[in-house]
Amino acid sequence: MSVNEQVLSYPIPAEAPLEPPAEWAELRGGCPVAHVKLPSGDAARLITRYEDVKQVLADPRFTRQLTAPDAARLSADGGGVFNSDVAQIIPDSGDGHLHWRRLVGKWFTAKRMAAMRPRMAEIADSLIDDLVERGAPGDLRAGLGFPLPVYVICDMLGVPAEDRERFSYWSDTLLNLTRYGKEEIEAAQAEFFQYMSDLIAAKRAEPGDDLLSELLAAGGPDEGGLEDLQIIVTGMALLVAGHETTANMIGKMVSMLLADRARWEALLADPSLVRTAVEETLRLDANSGFGLPRYLPVEAEIGGETLPKGTTVICSMAAANRDESAFEDAASMDLTRSPNPHLAFGAGAHSCLGQSLARTELQVVLEVLLRRLPTLELAVPVAELERVEGLAVGGLRTVPVRW
């Protein structure tokens, strides 16, 4: 049976840690609006072509209202972050969303991120010192990839980085697809919510020089600011988004670049390639996670098909990023590729708010690694790298390296 006729289980498992499942190319070619079954058992349609994914992400008819009664649940235990009522506290469309986006977005401008470069490099240097001191082989994920973005987002939010183990667990439960049960998720979310509520109360009493204190200082909705509940949820969302995604990407980026050491050598010879190399690893990340779900409250057409009202659509940006009709020689890694309009951060009004932060972190980590550990190499064959399963954000369990 071909992919045209069957209902695929989604996510589609991949055999190799850094390579895409073969089904992606088949789907793009012959079945661009595929029928899939989610971990919950609910049905959805999977979009894999570049133009279609870009259109869906930018089209306001495809909403983020995954709490609608007839929307597909992503996982049997409530669906984590996407299906959560908490996600609905931040306005998802219209003027409300625009207001929220601009109020928070000003903290993530490219210029602010560029100003944080020296601090990011300092953190990276010190983490690499520790890694080197512990001796080779070391785990780049635990030693550098994970802590760096956590320190940075904690600095920005004014959250104590010592609590990072707890954030990491809370975030995993929020990003859960199949790894945790309902009770465990609910307990973790309640704890996380309480933690953030207490922190906001403490900041109201004693403001600091950080994003959360500034959001409080902007006043309530009548004064152009946000409700306290919205600030709490914003804090939770930024903490989760700001650490899990980039943390995993650092390990994947370095693994992809070391998988063929000619790439690493090219970067050592010409570090000005760092910027385009980072974009190319974002484009080719075959393990980016679940993709972005959208819910259709009205009928709409996509990829030549009319989808009925009530359809849940999953956008696979990772599959779209390998579409030959959008990228020349799409399957090969070209460290100089430009322009590189990949969809790793989404597209349109909801495209990732923190993309300048993520890009800057990835560039700085790579620059510091090239300078500090030019002899870096994977300590295991690529095929032995293991994917993290069961979470909405994809990553590698460990990234063993030596130098």
Partner: protein, 64 residues
């Protein structure tokens, strides 16, 4: 080269500023694009084309 930007389409991602900081900036109070130079010199053209091509909101228009 002549550049125009559409503030309503801009989502404040800042990718244009990371690529061409001499041509684009973002407003301090909401992160929306500021066009610093609507007719930049030839040295900036490649970066401007790249910024326009990757803008997630398709908010940058370039005519040559």
């Amino acid at each position: 080269m002549k550049i125009t930007v559409d503030e309503d389409k801009c989502c404040g991602a800042g990718s244009c500023v990371l690529i061409a900081p001499e041509v684009f900036d973002q407003r301090e109070d909401d992160g929306i694009v500021i066009l610093l130079d609507a007719e930049p010199g030839a040295g900036q053209h490649a970066a401007v084309r790249e910024a326009a091509a990757v803008c997630p909101g398709a908010a940058i228009e370039v005519s040559e």
